[in-house]
């Protein structure tokens, strides 16, 4: 167990290193090289001074080591657009995105697990077909289109929910506007529900044909006990891994959701940065979000090992 965790964490650290290489390479792929970090209106003299001051004229491996050293000191770069360090922008915006993503996962799991189990137990019946069809359609809809459908339904037709996300600088301010949170969270949940319920369904179908389920049934245990004791426990375990795996996709969805609802998280900031060519923010956010994905899937795998002794 401990050996496995150590191995998994070391693999995770390697991947983190890989991510830093990707972002480092991205800096050098910029048209005009790292000088582009200064923005489009920088003069050649400014760029030259900037390149020298930040060591971009040194050999590439030295630059990379220097870059890693900066990261270790928490220096993610400086946004000349916002006139603030990237890390301070992150500290302000990431928690709000984490709230949005976290809530949407809770909603998604609460819906997807019962749906998936019901589909597996009623396999190839009407319920299964309807839910499979719905999840396929949900999975095939662009996120911003889902958002629009929800807005036009709940905000325009029935007028029971506000069509914009909450506003505010901190998480506590955001939480105080629960009505505004509903539609962004729902939007982000739809795709996740579609993915997860498909997964729960196939996972439960795999478990239902196992010998231990047949044994349990033949012992005369009630169907409810068979399902709750044997099927649910075994078929839900892989979900832990799925959460880790689905994180990058969900975070992509969060960028779109936040820009639709004007939700003040990292996605909105990232989108604005992309439109304004605020490259330090783009690269710093990409790095931090990717690293948190690595950590997320690492935690998921270790958790899985804790829950399932066969992995150790």
């Amino acid at each position: 167990m401990i050996a496995y965790s150590l191995w998994r964490v070391s693999q995770g650290l390697l991947v983190v290193l890989g991510v830093t290489v990707i972002v480092f390479v991205l800096v050098h792929l910029l048209p005009g090289g790292p000088g582009a970090l200064l923005g489009e209106r920088a003069t050649p003299e400014q760029i030259k001074a900037f390149l020298q001051a930040n060591g971009y004229d040194k050999p590439i491996y030295e630059q990379y080591i220097n870059y890693l050293r900066q990261l270790l000191h928490g220096d993610l770069g400086y946004s000349y657009l916002h006139n603030a360090t990237v890390s301070s922008l992150l500290a302000q915006n990431l928690p709000k995105s984490a709230l949005l993503v976290g809530l949407s996962y809770i909603v998604a799991l609460a819906v997807a697990i019962p749906f998936g189990l019901m589909q597996a137990l009623r396999r190839n019946r009407a319920v299964d077909y309807v839910l499979t069809g719905l999840s396929l359609v949900g999975y095939s809809m662009p996120v911003f289109w889902i958002a629009l459908v929800l807005i036009s339904l709940f905000a325009i037709n029935y007028n029971i929910l506000p069509p914009v996300g909450p506003s505010g600088a901190t998480v506590s301010e955001v939480v105080q506007q629960p009505a505004n949170l509903v539609l962004p969270v729902l939007t982000l949940s739809v795709v996740t529900v579609a993915q997860f319920s498909r997964f729960v369904r196939s996972s439960a179908i795999d478990v239902l044909v196992q010998d231990y389920v047949r044994t349990a049934r033949s012992k005369g245990i009630s169907e409810w006990h068979v399902v709750s004791r044997h099927v649910v426990r075994n078929s839900l375990l892989p979900i832990i891994t799925l959460i880790g795996l689905s994180l990058p996709g969900t975070l992509s969805g969060a960028v779109v959701t936040e820009s639709v609802f004007n939700y003040p998280g990292m996605g909105l900031l990232f989108w604005n940065a992309a439109a304004a060519h605020d490259i330090p923010v783009l690269l710093g956010f990409t790095l931090v979000v990717s690293v948190s994905v690595v950590v997320g899937s690492m935690v998921a795998d270790v958790l899985y090992a804790v829950c399932d002794p066969r992995i150790r």
């Binding site: 048209p31 095939s140 996709g249 779109v256 989108w271 992309a274 979000v289 990717s290 690293v291």
Partner: protein, 317 residues
């Protein structure tokens, strides 16, 4: 073991690669079970038995005909704007109305479909090619080469696709070829993982061992023995990543980083329509959205049916 070689030969037979695989050093026992008691239906038959898959295929062919043949039957001006004709409701002259600069929506849906389909499928094919190469080499070589190559895949997989796409699309001018490359860069990873896993298990199989034993070169073994056996998984992955690429292109277009006008794609049309959603111009929003969903659902259905056709175990259950 025997059941697995069944899958391989079903695929090979269908994809016309049998002659290549049977030649050379394949021991007969790796091939024979295919003709044994199970006598599985051909891939095509299994696929056609799946009604959802057939429906998906029909829908996709329909969408492709609509996009590529449609403009020849229903000619509209999709280059010059005509502000006088802006925001017209559907009528006999414009069956689906016009948009904010006077383009005929029905005609534009056709043209937009071309770029959506071309970008989606080109990206998927390019990505599968990259991923297959990468995964086959990693899985076949094993050891530290495999470890390094797979950590590279893991690193790319950790970067949320839309974030990377936004960085790339904001840095480079998003033309169609650039977008194809960007979307391919984002979606070769899953293919690489799957192919690597299969290559890893194939390389210890008897017929590969035998090939190595008689002195075949590594490159030859990968091309002749490993790749033909994973064609099925690759076909599934091409369809699924095409669906993802079309959705990702839509998201990019919504965020304003799709191909610039007058080039059109469904995502851009839909994103455009959303600006007017509150004005009741439903013809700007629903046709494009429905076409995206229809296409992506169709491709996913085809992918599922292909997977089922390739996966003999599912048929037996």
């Amino acid at each position: 073991m025997k059941r697995d070689s069944n899958i391989g030969s079903t695929r090979i037979g269908e994809s016309g690669l049998r002659t290549e695989t049977v030649t050379g050093s394949d021991p007969p026992d790796a091939e024979d079970p295919a003709h044994g008691a199970a006598a599985p239906a051909t891939l095509g038959q299994t696929f056609l038995r799946n009604r959802m898959g057939v429906a998906g295929l029909a829908a996709l062919i329909g969408v492709a005909l609509f996009s590529f043949l449609g403009p020849h039957l229903y000619q509209t001006n999709q280059i010059n704007t005509n502000i006088v004709q802006a925001h017209l409701a559907p009528s006999w002259q414009h069956p689906l109305g016009t948009d904010q600069v006077g383009y005929d929506i029905l005609g534009r849906l056709m043209v937009a479909g071309q770029s959506s389909l071309i970008v989606g499928f080109s990206a998927a094919i390019l990505a599968s090619f990259l991923g297959t190469l990468w995964g086959a080499i990693a899985g076949y070589c094993g050891g530290w080469i495999d470890a390094v190559m797979m950590r590279v895949v893991d690193s790319f997989l950790s970067v949320p696709p839309l974030l990377l796409a936004l960085v790339l699309a904001s840095v480079y001018k998003p033309t169609i070829p650039v977008l194809i490359v960007v979307l391919a860069v984002l979606s070769w990873l899953v293919t690489a993982r799957v192919v690597r896993g299969e290559a890893l298990s194939l390389r210890v199989r008897d017929f590969v061992r035998a090939a190595r034993f008689v002195g075949s070169r590594e490159r030859y073994i990968i091309r002749r023995h490993i790749l033909p056996n994973i064609i099925g998984s690759i076909a599934v992955l091409v369809t699924l990543s095409a669906a993802d690429a079309i959705l990702l292109l839509a998201a990019l277009s919504y965020l304003g980083l799709g191909p610039p006008p007058p080039a059109a794609n469904w995502g851009e049309m839909l994103a455009n329509g959303l600006n007017y959603a509150f004005d009741g111009y439903w013809w700007l929003v629903y046709p494009a959205g429905i076409l995206i969903v229809l296409t992506v659902v169709a491709i996913n259905l085809i992918g599922d049916a292909l997977r089922e056709a390739f996966d003999v175990r599912l048929q037996q259950r």
